[in-house]
Assembly symmetry: C3
């Protein structure tokens, strides 16, 4: 068995062992939540009014409280209200009707958006979309367990108890948000880590992600509706820290680290779907008028960052031409930068201003800052996640601090709808600041440690020829010296 094959064997064994452990954990701990569990229906004489008795009503009370913490304003109207027991029968259906389309939008962002956006490398498209697929499917299962255990631990610490991991509609969002953080980190190391190393990175990252999120949301009570701090800042700086630690001179200036005409087109599929559905990502867990506001603000910020990206990109080139990598990425920065404050009273013009600032910052990042960081501190960032997620995420955190500082019950009707435990603007601004700093620190520290562990483990890192190259992972993919795919003798694998 060659060294490569041995490495690949570890990959298979890791996945199989993981799935067995997931299966055991699911069997032992995971249960359907109230939205998915059967109801005992007592058919009465008057069939226009059914009385529904919920099963296990007490075990989930604590769960509901914690869930409300994770998403301060996300309590679905009346679903758990004891006063409305008799109407609960179709509350699961109503909840699903409202949330499911937005979940599917987010799901498209995770699997199509991120997956195709990263297909821009000319010889790494199949790996990009496939690793994106594999990592997400892995992280979803793993995050259900880690996130559920985190809730059980928090319940214990808070003096309550939670006997199981309950899954339902809310789980769908929580898992996809965790995926987003991992995929952002993936972008920083795209083409430089093997599949096995990426799985190890994800394993560490999800743990630290959940710790950070629990601290920020449950204990610090910071608001971050679109996850710009907990997802984007965390994912970007975790990934960049891993990239720095894994840094090798021989993955630089490889002829395969480039896009070609067709790979840029595939990448645009990812860009456009991310851009379209971003309002769903930012608003999914908001309710009522707050949700409409989150949609509208995100939508405006995205339009502004798209337009300004073209303007600035043309200014960064002597001949006034536009760089397609800017169009593929910086157009999205408005969605990141407005994520924390999208449900706050930032005014439509405020959303537009944030979008303009983010698009300009991101384009400048791609044109100048990325190369500078690579030369000066040896920070190689394949997809430019610092430009799209890192700096715009920090901008989002700052916007959230400012918006929180000006918040009051007068301007919000009831500010606890947006901020959870709202006391006053200054207090909330300090909470926002604390969450941002802790997120940044945990991401960098966690990423450095994870990178170091991966380096010392016997994972057979990629060699020079294997960087940014699909032929390392896939059968029947071959490239010639100039990076053109060679497929003349390739037969459909499924028809031997």
């Amino acid at each position: 068995m060659s060294n490569l094959a041995s490495h690949k064997r570890k990959f298979s064994v890791f996945l199989i062992v993981s799935e067995i452990l997931f299966l055991i954990a699911f069997a032992a701990l995971v249960r359907y939540d109230d939205d998915a569990a059967p109801k005992i229906v007592q058919h009465e004489a008057d069939n226009s009014a059914k009385v529904v008795v919920k099963q296990e009503p007490d075990t989930q009370k604590q769960e509901a409280d914690i869930s409300a913490d994770i998403n301060p304003a996300g309590d679905e109207p009346a679903a758990d209200d004891p006063q409305e027991e008799s109407q609960i029968e179709d509350s699961a259906g109503r909840k699903l009707n409202g949330l499911y389309p937005m979940f599917q939008d987010v799901h498209v962002m995770i699997f199509v958006g991120f997956g195709f956006l990263m297909m821009f490398l000319k010889n790494y498209g199949l790996s990009a979309v496939s690793y994106n697929f594999l990592l997400s499917a892995f992280v979803i299962q793993y995050a259900i367990i880690v996130g559920g255990i985190a809730k059980m631990v928090v319940a214990k610490i808070d003096g309550g108890s939670l006997s199981a991991i309950y899954i339902g509609v809310d789980t769908l969002f929580e898992s996809d948000f965790t995926c987003a953080a991992v995929l952002i980190s993936f972008g920083a190391v795209l083409g430089k880590l093997s599949a096995f190393e990426l799985l190890l990175m994800s394993t560490f990252e999800v743990l630290i992600f959940k710790i950070n999120e629990t601290i920020g949301v449950h204990y610090i009570k910071a608001a971050d509706m679109g996850g710009s701090m907990f997802v984007h800042v965390f994912g970007a700086y975790f990934g960049l820290a891993v990239s720095r630690v894994m840094n090798e001179m021989n993955h630089r200036n490889r002829p395969t680290e480039g896009s070609d005409y067709k790979s840029d087109m595939f990448s645009m599929i990812g860009t456009i779907f991310l851009w379209i559905y971003w309002p769903s990502f930012n608003s999914a867990l908001a309710t009522d008028e707050e949700r409409v506001r989150a949609v509208v603000n995100t939508y405006i910020a995205l339009c502004a960052s798209c337009v300004i990206t073209f303007a600035i990109s043309a200014m960064t080139e002597k001949d006034g031409k536009v760089t397609i990598a800017h169009v593929q990425n910086a157009t999205l920065a408005g969605g990141v930068a407005v994520g924390t404050s999208c449900n706050m009273m930032i005014h439509p013009a405020g959303a537009m201003f944030i979008g303009l600032a983010a698009g300009a910052l991101s384009t400048v990042g791609f044109a100048y800052i990325q190369g500078f960081l690579d030369r000066v501190i040896g920070l190689h960032d394949t997809c430019g996640v610092n430009n799209l997620h890192g700096m715009p995420g920090l901008l989002a955190g700052l916007s959230g601090i400012v918006a929180a500082a000006f918040a009051s019950d007068e301007s919000y009707g009831d500010a606890t709808r947006v901020f959870g435990d709202f006391k006053d603007g200054v207090d909330q601004a300090l909470r926002q600041t604390g969450a941002l700093l802790i997120t940044f620190a945990l991401a960098i520290t966690g990423g450095l440690l994870s990178g170091l562990i991966i380096r010392v483990l016997p994972t057979s890192s990629l060699t020079k020829q294997q960087y940014y190259n699909d032929s390392d992972f896939f059968t029947d993919v071959h490239f010639d010296d100039i990076g053109e795919s060679q497929s003349i003798n390739k037969q459909d694998e499924s028809n031997i």
Copy 2:
């Protein structure tokens, strides 16, 4: 007129005659159902309560009953409840709000998912997506008529009467499910039948599909929420039977029966959209908490089958590399295999187990079983539908039998919500078994007969050069000897 042109003329004539017949049938038989027909609104003094008098209230009562049979648990809350006449005005709106987004998800699966998944052949991508488009648009219209007549016949047999074919929101799903079966069959014969032959195949298949579905759902009363038996098993074995009958030695080992680097990327568009929206396919017709359960179970099974596919695929190659065809297909097997039982109380761990089993089975199918069947019984399966739809569909049927055997009113609250006419677990398990066996038998028999009829009809089958080749059907598409497209002198056809 050459032989080819004569064949093409039949294609046009067939389509035009079909559309004229569809138009006549629609004019004579099809009416808007209650959800789409106008309401007579009586504006009263108190404008907060409108009294609505439905038009044709009696003609559709029978329809509603039959529709409830086709989807045992799918009765929309209170929409047809005579007690709630006064609230009916916006029930159509509410029903559409709940169902329409899921319908559009399914619609994307049919036209984008299946269409692009089948673009993997390097010289047949335009045909794959175009035939997929044409067959589906044809089948939707045809299935409305065939399905509607089936309901009228059943009403007559059951002693009632139904005077028209009513179309509305439910029609959208029924037609797309029928399309799915036809498109699965299309996958088995991809590249080997001409457009005209495919239309003939579809014409026969829809008839037998509707007969089988009516037997299984209305008479046997088997539960199959995601259609894994009635759609996947039926479609796969019908198509495989046609493929066996149409079997020719000269469509084997053609240099064009293979994928290339770019065609594999287009195919991933199909895979990813199918994977994302599969929970909508399986849960669309469920209601309330049963719907949430169907979503969650399908979602878990899909994640598990994705991860295990990568693991097993790497194990089937000596050098530990992964085969992209496995990623494109076997990752989806969990969605098929959990389809019958997704709304049953299979526990989240049960869903995960089914997904793991299906992903492994499907990957092994692609790696070993498909080639074996081709060599031993001459069964050529272009897309490997036996691996993705056939065997995982049988697994779904078995899972449904087992889950039904353990069902009880205690565990389901009210088991009739999931199983329709539920008596006890053993009875229901027998019904599930009967439906699976009849589906399998009708699919094979129907496919063999349809294939024989197509063989004897003067349809000018494809010649050796025309297999897996877009240049047979499209103007201005040319390939050189090694399968590279030749487009140098091609002008935009729309600008002569």
Copy 3:
């Protein structure tokens, strides 16, 4: 600074100045509407009933009335009903649940549908999707301002007053509809205008679009649910008029004005998504049973036009082959042609007939009429928008006139639900006729004038080599003599 770079500088300056003006206008005029503004919630003792006091209840009353005019039947159930003040809290949530998924469908049509459909040119794919992206993001912001000011002016003329531009859920649709018109015009001049010229065209077009829409909807009170007159006819003939004025002999018969095998595949992504989501476009602003009818009618018309396109396309070629450009475009004509009448009582067979007529007309347009118009009146139409949007849009207008002529309160329950101020069929048919004629006249006149202005402005029009060529606008894109992309030495721009 070269001439080209100088031109590009104008492009950047135009965008930056526009965004500054947008920002000022948003700060001065734009406010969240009731759906997005905070509510003052008075928590009462009985927490099962919350009393909500709306902020600024009077300022928006006028707005609501005008909005109802723009969409005669689009009054959301009870959202503004003073009788139901106490239930308003989650009305924003419910409204969003119903409308948001359809908005996202339309959003996909605008950015993915139009964007990828226009990628068919082999050397212009990146420009097509990027200009589509830029123009839409620009038009959304601009249309919010122009549309809002139009409402303020109309309120003044009508004797009322409206103090701000209110944005919310409805804004999302209005802006996307305006984008659609601009993108249709873009299709007529695709590859022939520079980015700067396209922005100028859009600037003029949105003004005239909003004037025409206000006349047609608010004053003439014509019904046009799917916007086939106000969007498709207007966009097509405006763009064609610009194309005629900008007409140059040297953009004809360029070797780059053609598709290739892969670019045709990308284009199919656009076609399929447009086709799938078209029912959402046509029905988004309808309510209740009228919305279901709009969905079903559009769905049937699309199926019919898809099938007939294949049949007619094969008949237009001597060898019976199908032209992929017909499949990419004419299959969609049913959605355009049924747009005006989709919510009317046209019967399912009527929808099918309209779809068949539109598909046939559009295919014949591509095969014969487009070349004829080019030769005879020098009308060059890159995407064939006359065939897909122009003639089918006129057919839609005619269908609307006929359907309106037969309308009555008996057949519609209450015809004002569909037609707004319905008097009788003849009156409404005259209104429909007037709106169609005015739309056609304003589109042609506006397009000619806009084209003339662009010609006389110093916009440095494209030279011979720059037509249909991405290398004019993007860095690092190069094509050789036969149009193959040259990317050997291209490095990822983001990693210098």
